[in-house]
Amino acid sequence: MKAKIFASIAVTITGAILLYAVTDFPNFGDPRSPANAGVGGGSSSASLYYIENTYRDTKVPNLVTAILADYRGYDTLFETVVIFTAGMAIFAILRVLRNEDAPSAPDPESTNRTIDGDHHRIIVGITCRIAVPLVQIFALYVVAHGHHSPGGGFQGGVMLGASFILIALSGSLRDALARFSEASYIRLASLGILIYAGVAFLPLVFGRNFVDYGALRGLLGTEGEEMARSHGIFGVELGVAFTVMAVMFAIFANLSTRGRLKGGL
């Protein structure tokens, strides 16, 4: 009880300080704020440059995708590596590689634990079997169309991973693992990083900077460097999608079964 009082006092003080700091913020969407107009409202800022030149530089209408994958390519590369590391850390901590449990423990496959204890899951199963391909097609669209509409590798990858989680939730984890086995999700997670780093590394071969996809013009056979950058962004998004999909499913599979990959939800 005493701990709760101290905690609420600490939270109230922190909240009050945060609210006080908010009054110093510029108004929402203020064109003269430092982020939009540069320091002091005079000098040209980075965001103004992006708004005016992104389409000319990369032929990508979606500013966010262009900034994440091209202008800030290093950031996204290591964000993907962070996700990969998180997945591998969960694998390293949770995964039980010994095949036999304690001899007295019942077979996890036979004790079919579910949330509601209902074993008649025909309606849920059939509905999810119809929904899963639609989710996956939409996810592929999100990955491939991230240049032009909201979305991109991360969102599409999460949706692809979620479709396999849906199979595991509606049927059993065994069904999901039959389609997306442990060996393949570990390979796919690493392959995604490899694709991203590979696309980012290729410009170095042509004597240009890291993640400068414009150098891939000759390799891709595009007319200008702008389209090469657009295709480079797509390659990078594909790598992100692979890694995120594999890691999301790996985290779910290991968390829901305490790393045994048997039984589960």
């Binding site: 929402f28 979305g151 969102q155 999460v158 949706m159 979620a162 779910f252 589960g264």
Partner: protein, 81 residues
Amino acid sequence: MIVTFDIIILVFLVIAAIISLSVKDLLAAAMVFGIYGFLICLLWAEMGAVDVAFTEATVGAGVSTVLIIATILNTRRRSTD
């Protein structure tokens, strides 16, 4: 009009946050936390940050709820404090 929308979402956001902290049933807390994520997604979409809203809808409202539930299933369902 858009301010009304903002206020409605923010009120629900606070309600969802308080409920998900105070409810004893961890499964219910996880579901309400998913609702909280979805409300934040609505707020971002309304502010024009569609990409962030999309990420929040997939990660915050979607996968993280499932991951939390998967973890709860390996614990006791009710909180004791």
